[in-house]
């Protein structure tokens, strides 16, 4: 067509497959971690401390990506770290999505008092620096996997709420929504059958993005030592350790960083790719 939809489609396809592939690798690593990890991720061996990755002089076979200062295998810790990352991504992502999208739909479609209250709440939430809010919450309710997930949901529901509300408002102005009213649909049915399908692609894209953000927040909390207990391997924890020994053993920082980078990038791109895939106008 005139606006070059062909090119958009091709690009969307490539990014959907590439990001999907990486996320599948991470998911497989998480599920089968005990089977694929070459070592026990917690096993310390000070004799094998700070071994470099396999291609460098002084590398030890069997420790592909080297070891950290306590002699723990970096690759095994990465693989086991995927478990925490994925659990946080799924649970926190879906939790935020459900709460935020529901409130956003209600505010955007029903307007009135519901909208005023919800919007004011969002305003208040937006006045907090999110990371500081998260750190504060964890400090108050204590560390642990559940706390991390609760903190992410409590803080980030506004992301869904804002976007979904705006999108719902847009859709509510369209004549097909009026048309549904003329057909005698109840407001609830109009919202679910006419508006929701048009907002859904945005929600899906946001959900995927949010999963990436959840992984990052977990990493940041681990980085300031406030996430999961320290003996469980997490990517953020590895980065915190790596940051301390960056001049002696860069690989302890670089490998978890690359993993985190690719995962976050993939979540975001996967969401955008899905959104384009969903769009009947592009399809």
């Amino acid at each position: 067509m005139l606006d070059g939809r062909g090119a958009v489609k091709r690009r969307a396809g490539a990014r959907l497959w590439l990001s999907g592939l990486w996320l599948a690798i991470v998911a497989l690593a998480a599920v089968f971690a005990p089977l694929i990890a070459p070592h026990d991720p917690l096993m310390q061996d000070l004799l094998y401390g700070r071994l470099p990755p396999f291609w460098m002089a002084g590398a030890e076979p069997g420790y592909l990506l080297g070891t950290d200062s306590l002699g723990r295998d970096v690759l095994s810790r990465l693989i086991h770290g995927a478990r925490i990352a994925l659990i946080v991504a799924l649970v926190a992502g879906i939790g935020t999505c459900l709460i935020g999208s529901t409130l956003g739909l209600i505010a955007g479609y029903y307007r009135g008092w519901a909208d005023r209250i919800i919007s004011r709440l969002v305003d208040i939430w937006m006045a907090f620096p999110p990371i500081l809010f998260a750190i504060l919450l964890i400090a108050v309710i204590g560390t642990g996997l559940t706390s991390v997930i609760v903190a992410i949901v409590v803080i980030d529901w506004t992301r869904f709420c804002r976007v979904v509300r705006a999108e719902t408002l847009n859709q509510s102005q369209m004549d097909y929504v009026h048309s549904a009213r003329i057909a005698g649909f109840t407001r609830m049915k109009t919202m679910l059958s006419e508006i929701l399908p048009n907002v859904l692609p945005t929600i899906v894209a946001l959900l995927s993005l949010e999963m990436g953000i959840a992984v990052i927040v977990e990493a940041i909390l681990s980085f300031v030592n406030l996430s999961i207990s320290t003996d469980q391997p997490t990517w953020g924890g590895m980065i915190a350790e790596g940051r301390l020994s960056i001049h002696q053993a860069w690989w302890v920082l670089v490998f978890p960083l690359i993993t985190l980078f690719l995962t976050v990038l993939s979540f975001a791109q996967f969401g955008e790719g899905l959104k384009d895939r969903f769009d009947p106008v592009l399809r």
């Binding site: 208040i124 937006m126 976050v264």
Partner: protein, 336 residues
């Protein structure tokens, strides 16, 4: 006068927001399970200590009374005394604020320059490889948060190719003649450009890490808005008058495309400032954010409250400012 109305009603909602923030800050640290006094004190404090503190904070009164007392004090600028340093919270917080402001503004400037540049170039060469490149860079910039950019910069420009220092606000061995905490600005006024250079070198990586996601957002939104605008009738009309493409983008499309971008920059700038919390930590930059993390780790309750309230004030002020600017720049509102 629509402008006056916009200004006043925004002002009112801002007030409501701030009161909401105060309530939540109060509730989070008081009502949540766990003895707040125990939280405030280092482990192993005596019963006498606990009682003394309870009386000091009026914890024997009802929650509502406690809130009124605390909020009344806050309104008078009294945020209490830091538990870890025994200094007034307000002094501590204001002492660190300039460092964070300088860092955030520098990041904002970098983001606006990078973002606008990318958007204009991407629009000028739309449909070509250049645009694909800009889009790709934007996609990555949008997806990867400041924390990861910071780490990446540390490895690349701090370790592999050590161009910039990876920690601190200024080299510790330097003599600092400053009388305010606005080091960067003061160094320029005192014509101590050696210090300016040193400060900028320290600031560069954290500021860039904060700026990259915002730059990508600005670039993406402005480019989208520019691309729509350059196809609008008035831009086409300008082209038929004999103007070049670059001229059409800069003088016809840009003024109209900037307005929606501006509102977005407001919200996103608050996100950027929020990002200083972790970026300052990462680069051991002595600002408000770094102090906040320390306060949480030390369980310094009054300090945490003070910092959060200050952040909230800054955030709402920025949003207010952006809304006002928008109202004044928009000819529809200005001349209605």
């Amino acid at each position: 006068m629509p402008i006056l109305r916009v200004v006043l009603s925004r002002f009112l909602t801002t007030l409501i927001t701030l009161i909401g923030v105060a309530i939540i800050v109060f509730v989070v640290v008081r009502v949540v399970p766990g003895n707040p006094i125990a939280m405030m004190l280092p482990p192993g404090a005596s019963t006498a200590d606990i009682e003394r503190l309870s009386a000091l904070y009026g914890l024997d009164k009802s929650i509502f009374e406690q809130f009124t007392i605390w909020f009344g004090n806050v309104l008078q600028g009294d945020f209490g005394t830091s538990i870890s340093t025994r200094q007034p919270v307000l002094d501590l917080v204001l002492g660190r604020l300039p460092a964070t402001l300088e860092l955030s503004l520098m990041a904002l400037i970098i983001a606006v320059i990078l973002g606008m540049g990318a958007a204009i170039i991407g629009t000028r060469y739309r449909g070509r490889r250049t645009e694909t490149g800009v889009d790709l860079a934007n996609g990555i910039g949008l997806s990867v948060p400041d924390f990861l950019w910071g780490l990446l910069l540390i490895i690349l420009l701090g370790v592999v190719w050590p161009l910039f220092p990876i920690s601190g606000r200024v080299s510790p061995r330097l003599d600092l003649p400053f009388s305010t905490q606005f080091y960067l600005i003061e160094s320029i006024f005192r014509l101590r450009f050696d210090l300016t250079g040193n400060l900028l070198r320290h600031m560069f990586m954290p500021a860039l890490a904060l700026a990259l996601p915002l730059a990508a957002i600005i670039a993406q939104l402005l480019k989208q808005s520019l691309k729509e605008t350059v196809n609008l009738d008035y831009a086409v009309l300008a082209r038929t008058k004999g103007y070049s493409e670059t001229r059409v983008i800069l003088s016809e499309a840009l003024p109209n495309a900037l307005l929606p971008t501006l509102t977005l920059i407001g919200v996103q700038f608050t996100f950027l400032i929020g990002g200083t919390v972790i970026i300052e930590r990462l680069f051991s930059y002595e600002g408000l954010g770094n102090m906040a993390v320390d306060a949480v780790i030390n369980r310094d309750l009054p300090l945490i409250q003070g910092i959060v309230i200050l952040f909230a004030l800054i955030f709402t002020a920025i949003n207010l400012l952006v809304d006002m600017t928008y109202a004044f720049l928009n000819p529809r509102l200005r001349h209605a």
